[in-house]
């Protein structure tokens, strides 16, 4: 039996169309647009001006404060402008636009393909390197990695979990990374373990990736303390709290962090980026993006420079089908629908999904028939119908008592609802209001 989280969950169609498509390195585009805010926290401050010559890997925007991340030039060339652009979130922000000339990298980056296994750095050096290299969580949340590597005072961490679950339908970038860069991913895991001073590492992956699981299990024999944990295929298996519960049986308290139960979770892509930063001195300037969709001609997994326009990625996958009605940045369950494709790839882009127009609209809404399917589907043990109604009626205090802030917005409730109620829309509204009210209470 595969391990799993105990309560709730759904089984959306997997649609992993690109699971057997090897990672293709996309040519450097003629121009890249690099936003200064690609992470949770304060935007970085641009360090270059129009006309400046930059090399790939050169710092172009400096992290502002502790919760922030450095931004590096993903290409070599000339800064064409520092301007305001619309990014994948749909909001405007500052970005450095670079016209590409050649592909010259900063000399200190080790570009050789050889695997460097031996970890020579100390904890402090590893954390500093991750901070310098602008590493953020690549699972989608883009939380700066160096902060997660620093255990808060008074807490103890005894285990690192590498999240290779990839429970979102369609996406396969983590799957391919585990298959093709398995040894580097495991080395990255070992580095994270060393930075946190722990002996135990677990790579959790859903059982729908048997090739990756057996490959990593084979490789893990050479890595002390690292085991591979196959998990049941069930959404949201890759939710941080669900993954910890499935792998360890520990339950992160409400409002708490994984480190409260002695665990730090990092995504497979992050582990690979940590390997590249620490062993190869390479900043985060590339990532693997799945471009897929039922009608897409040539769906695949592409390794691209940050700042590459999505249009270039979509072209590489055979172009946008005529019937496309929705473009999703991320997975179909938690990703964001884009209003335009003329936006750059950022550190958090794990996939681009093109939905035909038939799938791009929501079904007609009927009254709630109180079937309780949302309650049964909620992996956090909440009652989505209730907190949705409370939010709709602006009963914020009651919503807070019903633990609305525990919601991780996985969308299982809205997926499963036979009446097609916009449950999560209202819950998001309520959750953000309750969080704001709670903050105001503290500051008063």
């Amino acid at each position: 039996m595969f391990k799993t989280f105990p309560k709730g969950g759904i089984h959306p169609p997997e649609n992993k169309l690109t699971a057997d498509k090897p990672i293709v390195v996309l040519p450097v585009p003629p121009q890249v647009t690099v936003p200064v805010s690609q992470h949770i926290g304060a935007p970085a401050t641009p360090m270059v001006e129009k006309g400046a010559a930059v090399k790939a890997g050169q710092l172009i925007a400096q992290a502002k404060g502790f919760v922030s991340a450095n931004i590096h030039s993903p290409v070599s060339g000339k800064v064409s402008k520092v301007d305001t652009v619309v990014d994948t979130t749909g909001y405007k922000q500052t970005a450095v636009v670079i016209d590409v000339e050649g592909d010259e990298w900063v000399e200190t980056i080790d570009r050789s393909p050889s695997l460097v296994r031996d970890i020579t750095m100390t904890r402090e050096q590893i954390i500093e390197r991750c901070q310098q290299c602008g590493l953020v969580g690549l699972g989608g949340a883009t939380f700066p990695t160096h902060i997660k590597m620093t255990v808060p005072a008074g807490k103890k961490c005894d285990m690192v979990i590498i999240n290779g679950v990839e429970c979102e339908p369609y996406l396969t970038s983590d799957h391919r990374l585990m298959l093709e860069k398995g040894a580097a991913v495991l080395t990255g895991a070992a580095i994270i373990m060393q930075a946190l001073g722990v002996e135990t590492g677990v790579v959790g992956s859903e059982a729908n990736k048997p090739d990756a699981i057996s490959h990593l299990t084979e490789l893990a024999r050479d890595f002390k303390g690292i085991t591979i944990q196959p998990l049941k295929v069930k959404y949201p298996q890759g939710g941080e709290k669900q993954l910890i519960k499935a792998c360890t049986g520990r339950e992160v308290p409400s409002g708490g962090l994984p480190v409260d139960v002695g665990v730090v979770v990092q995504n497979v892509g992050t582990a690979f980026a940590v390997y590249e930063a620490v062993q190869k001195n390479k900043p985060l300037m590339e990532r693997v993006v799945t471009v897929t969709g039922i009608e897409v001609k040539n769906p695949g997994n592409f390794q691209v420079r940050i700042g590459t326009p999505l249009t270039a990625l979509i072209e590489a996958a055979g172009g946008m089908p005529d019937d496309t009605g929705k473009v999703i940045n991320g997975g179909p369950m938690m990703g964001k629908a884009l209003a335009m494709t003329d936006v750059p790839v950022t550190k958090g882009s794990s996939g681009i999904i093109l939905f035909p127009s038939a799938l791009s609209r929501r079904a007609e809404v009927l009254p709630c028939i109180r079937c309780g399917k949302c309650t049964a589907a909620c992996a956090m043990g909440l009652e989505p119908w209730l907190i949705s109604v409370l939010s709709e009626k602006a009963m914020w205090e009651k919503a807070e008592q019903e633990r609305i802030t525990d919601c991780m917005e996985c969308g299982a409730c809205a997926y499963t609802c036979p009446s097609k109620l916009p449950l999560l829309d209202y819950i998001r509204l309520g959750k953000s209001t309750v969080i704001r009210m709670a903050r105001e209470r503290i500051t008063k």
Binding site: K241, S254, L338, L366, R370, L382, W385, Y415, T416, I442
Partner: protein, 333 residues
């Protein structure tokens, strides 16, 4: 590249299961029991079912169109389900006008006055059935005896139900053992060879429908199993205590409306609890009240009343029975 893109918050996909599909799933699940009813009661079963379904659908349509003045929502299938269940809960020789009155009460009073689909506190078909039972006690308790396919449905040969024989007999001082002689064997009861409401007799067919609904994930096991187990345990204890005064659990599980009630009536989404724990408490409540009415009440059968009484507790169960939350609550501040 000139596509106009739709933008909406996640999730971007929805399950193919819709309210309409769930309702027609229930209709499919009711099909074996309907076939059994036609087999046992003939023309009467067909007339009663058609009348009830058409009347329920018509009442819903008329109320929505002329009283509420909203867009009629016939396509959701809920009125069809109510119509079928109302038919299943009445004798197969019930005159048409009484069925129509039942449909008006079920849909018009028990469902639409509260706001229609999703808003009614009590199971509409059961409200209709109990209204008819109180208003037309003679017609509602003259049970045709199964005798193969028959025509001329109002002239059907009638007889008492096994539960009726049992209640009357025990009151008259006969022992259960003697009464069991007058009642079909358990195996016959299982196949449905007994007098009773049109759709409640064939336990086997109802169980097939229930298994189908659980397999299709239309319902979960919690409500039917907790009702049936409670009835089995409660009547089992009574039977072991005094087998001359109380019938055995097999008899109680196979007679009357317990199978129909546990599988199809109590599991109505709108009027049952929304958490699994709540469902089990609700099921135990129905089981206990049913056995109490059957053994000590004025009526020989009590499933309808038991479900309606527990329907009244559903808002409370939803309010106080919470699902197991993930993660302990920590005190902040």
């Amino acid at each position: 590249m000139n596509n106009i893109l739709n933008v909406s918050p996640s999730p971007h996909q929805q399950s193919p299961e819709t309210t309409r599909r769930l309702m027609y799933g229930v209709v499919i699940a009711l099909a074996p029991a309907l076939a059994a009813s036609i087999w046992y009661f003939g023309e009467g079963a067909i007339i009663v079912t058609l009348t009830s379904v058409l009347a329920c659908v018509a009442v819903e349509y008329l109320v929505q169109k002329y009283i509420l003045k909203t867009k009629p929502s016939l396509t959701d299938g809920s009125a069809v389900v109510t119509g079928l269940l109302l038919a299943f809960n009445v004798p197969s020789n019930l005159p048409v006008h009484i069925i129509v009155i039942g449909a008006i009460v079920s849909i018009g009073v028990a469902k639409m006055t509260f706001g229609g689909l999703g808003s009614n506190p009590f199971n509409p078909a059961l409200v209709g059935r109990v209204f008819l039972l109180i208003s037309f006690p003679v017609q509602m308790t003259s049970w045709p005896v199964p005798s193969g396919f028959q025509t001329g449905y109002l002239d059907a040969v009638t007889g008492a139900t096994p539960l009726g024989i049992m209640t009357e007999g025990v009151k008259a001082g006969e022992t259960v053992t003697a009464l069991m002689e007058k009642i079909p064997t358990h195996m016959q009861l299982f196949y449905g060879y007994m007098g009773g409401s049109m759709g409640e007799v064939a336990a086997l067919a109802l169980i097939i429908g229930g298994v189908y609904m659980i397999w299709r994930k239309i319902i979960t096991w919690h409500i039917p199993i907790s009702i049936l187990l409670t009835v089995a345990i409660f009547t089992g204890i009574l039977w072991l205590a005094d087998p001359t005064k109380f019938a055995d659990p097999g008899f109680h599980l196979l007679t009357g409306g317990i199978m129909l009630g546990a599988i199809f009536m109590a599991t109505d989404y709108v009027t049952s609890p929304m958490t699994h724990k709540g469902m089990i408490i609700y099921g135990i409540g129905i089981g206990v009240i049913t056995v109490l009415i059957r053994n000590w009440g004025a009526y020989p059968e009590g499933v309808s009343f038991a479900i309606l009484i527990m329907n009244a507790f559903v808002p409370l169960l939803n309010m106080y029975i919470k699902p197991p939350r993930f993660g302990k609550e920590v005190k902040h501040g």
